[in-house]
Symmetry: C3
């Protein structure tokens, strides 16, 4: 067991846990786009709502950090973690919004390689949401980093193969450009999950 002179204010851990839940929720909504005929407007609107919830949560976290004299973790680490969790959500929301704005719903269904990216992001969201409550106590976080990094490699490979597919001649140039913008947001979300994991690793090394 770890002892600490710092107060273990549960409110901070609660913020991170809630942000993790929002990411799972966001990816559930985005994944509705994996089938043909999805209601892209509804997906986009619900993602905007989850993203606004998360903005508020991040804002409340920053206020709590600024108004607390002794924080359970280093101030700058909590700030970084909040900001990076928010970045993941921004990319998930952007991906859903672009599918709607570009009118990509006219396609039969996304290419398999894009669904591979959805799968990677869903897995990253779930294990991140599982790991965040374990920040309090720093339990079993190593498996989480290793798995996030493994998934990020899967995501890189899926992204690369998605571009090969997009450039194959199957789609017209404007559709390629639109889908590439969506793919770029998905890949950025994948990277952003890795940044979250790196910060959790930094915190864990400091506290251990």
């Amino acid at each position: 067991m770890r002892f600490s002179l710092r107060p273990q204010d549960d409110a901070f851990y609660q913020f991170f846990s809630n942000a993790g839940k929002n990411l799972v929720r966001g990816m559930e909504i985005l994944s509705e786009l994996a089938v043909a005929g999805a209601d892209t407007q509804s997906v986009s609107e619900r993602l905007v709502e989850v993203e606004h919830d998360n903005d508020q949560l991040t804002h409340d976290l920053y206020n709590k950090i600024n108004s607390t004299f002794v924080t359970p973790l280093d101030r700058e680490d909590m700030y970084a973690l909040g900001s990076q969790l928010d970045d993941v959500m921004d990319h998930i929301e952007a991906a859903g919004n672009l599918v709607y704005l570009y009118g990509l719903s006219e396609l039969p269904a996304p290419p398999r390689e894009m669904i591979d990216l959805f799968d990677v992001l869903n897995a990253q969201a779930r294990i991140t949401a599982d790991a965040l409550p374990r920040l309090k106590g720093m339990h079993n976080l190593k498996e989480y980093w290793i798995e996030i990094n493994r998934l990020e490699n899967d995501g890189d490979r899926a992204y690369r193969m998605l571009l090969v597919r997009l450039f194959s001649g199957e789609y017209d140039a404007l559709t390629v450009l639109k889908m590439k913008e969506v793919a770029d947001e998905l890949e950025a979300a994948c990277d952003a999950f890795e940044h979250v994991a790196n910060t959790i690793e930094t915190i864990s090394v400091k506290e251990s």
Copy 2:
């Protein structure tokens, strides 16, 4: 009133004020592209001049930081601020240069959404140039950060709608690609103004 044991060497503040003026000047020149028939070569050449002026200024700032024993602000913060102001200028210059190099002057006029981005950047340049002289004394900087962040959100929205416009089918694929490169530089300039504001916030929090 703020007291400090550090010398208030005006030369440092003067560098930042001059960099701010260069950004206003750069955006004035770039904004000439908002109307059809603009002389893109002349815009590009004058932007290169302003950018070179700014490089020299940044170089002089670094030399002054390195040769001064006690600086009025933390060395690394002044270094970051100089570098970030220079980044904004680089993106403004790049946008103007690409319009010229790609021969985009053959278009009737930029789409409205690109002019929205010019408007955001002009506003960011003006309030940044207004704020920089206030670094000495740290007066009223909070309104500046809030406004820069609000403008950056406007810029994100304008950029997103600009891509929707570019991908609408109104332009051929190569023109879309060229205009997207210009749009990316404008959006990067918008973000770079936010990085400047974040550094000024950091300085201000430390010194207060």
Copy 3:
């Protein structure tokens, strides 16, 4: 001559020297693509091998940093340098892999501006590999930074002119998109060499 209370454990310097050699080897392989009819599959496969070697080397470096009580250079600087050398290799490998995956070998030969980028990268790789063994003793590193920065400027210019060429109407839209992805990796490699140089500058300033 520089004196230090830190142990001069040669193993660390050896890691960096080996990473430098890998970059020269990687660029030699990638440069085979400069002529028409290159065996893109073989280039890609050999680059993957060099990249895997380098991953292992970076991994070993991190383990050595973590298991050493007093390191000859600051831990975080060695970590950053290892990570940035690995980034360069990743971009070189990605460029070669994309040429193969996209089937770009059907083109007669890369445009001259892309070969200019190869030349810049070859020069950067060589002077980086020359400089890394000089980390031990911090000899003559200033000329190296200046030259890397000069080359990075050349690379920026070559990249900009490469896009002008790609957008000139000479290639169809999908080929443009494919070649732009390759160009982006080359430009990222160019920037990544500059990040390496910046870290070496930081180390050198601290240790001098």
